[in-house]
Amino acid sequence: MSHLLEVQDLKVKFALRFGDLTAIDGISFTLDKGERLGIVGESGAGKSVTGFAIINLLSKPGFIAEGKVLFKGQDLSTLPGREMRKIRGNRISMIFQDPMMTLNPVFTIGTQMVETLKAHRNITTQEAEKIALEKLRKVHIPSPEKRLAQYPHEFSGGMRQRIIIAISLLNDPAIIIADEPTTALDVTIQAEIMDLLQELCQEEEMGLILITHDLGVVSQVTEKIAVMYAGKIIETGDTQTVVTDPSHPYTRGLIKSLPGALKTGEKLYQIPGMMPNLTAIPPGCAFNPRCNLKDEICLKEVPLLKRTEKGIMAACHMI
């Protein structure tokens, strides 16, 4: 059976003065109907670029150098702009981190919602408003009729993010890509938004790609996880298996360094050093300078993703 979304050996590069910089180095994953995938990693790992590459929204000098993004069998990476616009915001929509930046401050919520609908469908304003109301109700905005005529500044941060979700739902997308949707929000609001996203995936059978640095969030919301490091997926598989019993030394270090598992005041585990700059990725395994298990082979050969006994995939020579 073919997958809803299949990313095959995707490579994204940035054309810079001194040559091409590889931001994403050959990643592959799949997403099925109603499935929730979490992409985690630290800043600079390439998680957001992955999101942008899927909907072909890389801004210059970024470009897809190799690989395919198959959505229902159609390769999005080579689609001309006009065709892509029919899919983006319609079949695949994206939610960004900062709800204040994504809404236009000078138009009412209603105008922005109707505009999104009319861009993709041939309908009247009245019909569009009816759909907008229905979606606002779906994301639990109280008295949506009144809210439709209001401007973004009249909403709180959590409400704004819910409106963004409502907008992304307008055309009943098959996939939602959420890039750090709750990073700018408080924990209680974050919990509400995450509940909402989960509920929507179950009800509408939507696929969700959740891009975040928060392992706690990923572990609660998603079924499948992909951990990224320096432009590569280094571990992927069932979320619970990966977060409770990680295989790759990086994932292990990341989970161990979270405060909360240890007793108060105990020294936290720390991964030495920091993620390499993309211009200076060490040869062999990109994690080798920070790894405590490294061997000769790690300095020479790039490890490939291999299936482990736990049924997940990890890219490490030492497993």
Binding site: E42, S43, S156, G157, G158, M159, D186, V187, T188, I189, Q190, A191, E192, M194, D195, H213, D214, L215, G216, V217, S219, Q220, Q240, V243, T244, G253, L254, I255, S257, L258, P259, G260, A261, L262, T264, G265, E266, K267, L268, Y269, Q270, I271, M274, M275
Partner: protein, 347 residues
């Protein structure tokens, strides 16, 4: 950082905050203040009630964390403590000396003893100063007679302690990563050998693996130097890990003050319960979060009675009309809630 239980129990308060109130006037110019009411023009002031009647004591050697969501007044409280904002009412004592009404000059000796670390290491370091210049400025300012070599030695020893190679002292902030910049900010705070450090969200802008490094650094420095921390953060797992006591704030009011173990094991205030239930934890699939109703009200028009009543599922008439007083529970927890006081059924 409860590294020294004895120091915690000897209860010498290093800082006492008494009934501090901080309001900000945001009404603007005279013309902005004029409003039409019942056919008459009246002048109306708009104030943000950021901190309302907060009292706390911080004992020597402990780490007290103040938690709460954005807009609850936790950062304002930190700045009032540091003397960056004068409070509208209330008193602040440092080791018994009142410091909230001092002139700039009188405040100087206290500034040396109280240092602050800020959230964003990109914004808090001067981009036009080298690390050395950044670190020597407070030393020269507070110790004008210190010799050049003494300053140099001090800078090197502090840089070593925070894990930044002293050979990099002539570099500028942009040459460092976020984690290293935060180390430099910590070095700047430590260089005057303070007793109290006020850290306002020091790890919120950092990645998980870097966050662990900085937290370890803060805990080590605290242990070695016997520091007292006032830690402001919204991240509850960080709070659980590093603090000896926790103060929970909501809309400018202190709702609960408890020992860390007690707060996480048996949270008393309904807001604390909701807050704790919302933390996503690794390895848990089912979110068991307690839903709050409604939205956070604005601190411009505070609700009557208990500020939390509009969102609390246990609220009744009394909560709407009467401001709850602080009640001392058996385990030493202070909580301001009518429901807890009356023993209302809260399960």
């Amino acid at each position: 950082m409860p590294y020294d239980i004895e120091a915690m129990n000897n209860n010498t308060p290093i800082l006492t905050i008494k009934n501090v109130v901080k309001h900000f006037d945001i009404s603007g110019g005279l013309l902005d203040q004029l409003k039409l009411k019942n056919g008459r023009i009246v002048r109306e002031k708009t104030t943000v009630k950021a901190v309302n009647d907060v009292s706390l004591t911080i004992n020597k050697g402990e780490t007290l964390s103040v938690v709460g969501e954005s807009g609850c007044g936790k950062s304002t409280l930190a700045r009032v403590v540091m003397g960056l904002y004068p409070p509208n009412a209330g008193e602040i004592y440092y080791k018994g000396d009142r410091i909230d009404h001092l002139t700039h000059k009188e405040m100087l000796p206290f500034r040396k003893k109280m240092q602050m670390i800020f959230q964003d290491p990109y914004a808090s370091l001067n981009p036009r100063k080298t690390v050395k210049q950044t670190l020597e400025e407070p030393l020269r300012f507070h110790n004008p007679k210190m010799s050049r070599t003494a300053i140099h030695d001090k800078i090197i020893s502090v840089m070593k302690q925070v894990g930044v190679d002293p050979a990099w002292s002539s570099r500028y902030p942009h040459e460092f990563s976020g984690g290293q910049r935060q180390r430099i900010s910590i070095a700047r705070a430590l260089i005057l050998d303070p007793d109290l450090i006020v850290a306002d969200e020091p790890v919120s802008a950092l990645d998980v693996s870097i966050q662990a490094q900085i937290l370890n650094l803060l805990m080590d420095a605290g242990r070695e130097r016997g520091l007292t921390y006032l830690f402001i953060t919204h991240d509850l797992s960080v709070v659980e890990h590093i603090s000896s006591r926790v103060a929970v704030m909501y809309l400018g009011t202190l709702c609960e003050l408890a020992k860390t173990e007690d707060l996480f094991a048996t949270p008393a205030h309904p807001y604390t319960r909701a807050l704790l239930s919302a933390i996503p934890r690794v390895g848990e699939t089912k979110p068991k979060n307690i839903k709050l109703k409604g939205e956070v009200p604005t601190p411009v028009n505070l609700p009557t009675g208990c500020v939390f009543h509009g969102r609390c599922v246990y609220a009744n008439e009394r909560c709407i009309n009467e401001v709850p007083k602080r009640t001392l529970l058996d385990n030493g927890t202070l909580v301001a809630c009518h429901a807890v006081e009356e023993n209302r059924d809260m399960d």
